[in-house]
């Protein structure tokens, strides 16, 4: 299952900036609070939503791993 951005709904002020920059339609606004849309396309982890969020309500954490490649 594809990852989705992490949302702290208590910090969301419903400004919708993240929604406006999301080109893969992974986010939706429900009752004035942003959340990940289950019906939408997969998130391509561009992290623009995190970059534009004025309240730090949305984040796109990276898992950092070593490669198994030789």
């Amino acid at each position: 299952m594809k990852e989705k951005p992490v949302i702290k709904s208590e910090l969301c002020n419903g400004c919708g900036l993240c929604l406006s920059v999301c080109s893969c339609h992974s986010l939706t606004l429900v009752s004035g609070v942003i959340c990940c849309s289950s019906a939408s396309g997969e998130c391509d982890w561009c992290t623009l939503c995190e970059a534009v969020c004025p309240t730090g309500a949305i984040s796109c954490p990276f898992e950092i791993v070593f490669s198994d490649d030789p």
Binding site: E3, C15, L17, V21, E50, S59, C60, P61, E63, I64
Partner: protein, 236 residues
């Protein structure tokens, strides 16, 4: 109060202006709409107006001769851009591109000059805004010129890496920026530089360290640039 005046009174440029002054000012402001991806300004073209963001997000950036992009900042509602070159009558110092559908208000150079001569309060506000921008750009210059941010980012990646089975930390670019003592934009640039050198691979929500020893060398201070470029200055 019109929606335009209601917006103008909230932004730092026009703080403290009376309703009459704001209403007069609104007569000089013109609207511009930009679709996602649309260029609003091109670097090097004559600077004709200062822009204020009513809604949407605009990426302000410079492009190097070899096509690399350096984001200066992401301007959000209430922010202004292209302020610096407008008053001296220069050219746009940076390009600007809308990354979300945007509504902008703009104030032309001649109108801004006329308003400044009539209103000392406006002049003081603009000095404050420009001072803030100078501080922001100085911090960016310091990061780009004197600090080995890429080394610190490399070290953070090595220290945070796990085996892919949930043992490693998960970090946002914002968190890496805070740990490295730099701006989020610089972290993005550092990750891109490390990826271009083949030391890491960014795949969706994973940063995969592909050459641990080489990344360790960068973390220890080894320069990423070809040797011919390293004598040009103290930059990254």
């Amino acid at each position: 109060m019109t929606p335009q005046v209601d917006f103008l009174k909230k932004i730092p440029y026009f703080t403290g202006l009376s309703s009459d002054e704001l209403a007069a000012l609104a007569g000089y402001v013109f609207e511009k709409r930009a679709e996602r991806g649309e260029m609003v300004l091109f670097e090097g073209k004559p600077a004709e107006a200062v822009y204020f963001i009513v809604s949407g997000v605009v990426k302000v950036f410079k492009t190097s001769a070899d096509g690399k992009e350096q984001i200066l900042h992401l301007a959000r509602p209430g922010d202004s851009f292209n302020d610096v070159p407008v008053l001296p009558g220069g050219v746009n110092e940076a390009s600007a591109q809308s990354i979300a559908p945007a509504l902008l208000y703009a104030l032309g150079k001649k109108d801004l000059e006329a308003l400044l001569q009539e209103n000392p309060r406006l002049a003081l506000n603009i000095i404050r805004v420009l001072s803030g921008k100078v501080q922001q750009l100085m911090a960016l210059v310091e990061d780009l010129s004197f600090k080995r941010v890429v080394s610190r980012v490399a070290r953070i990646l090595l220290e945070s890496a796990g085996d892919g089975l949930g043992q490693g930390h998960r970090l946002t670019q914002q968190e890496i920026a805070a740990m490295a003592g730099t701006a989020r934009e610089i972290v993005g640039r550092s990750l891109k530089a490390l990826e271009e050198k083949g030391l890491i691979r960014v795949e969706n929500h994973r940063i995969i360290i592909t050459r641990r020893e080489a990344l360790g060398a960068v973390a220890g201070g080894e320069d990423l640039r070809p040797r011919s470029q390293t004598t040009a200055g103290p930059g990254e």
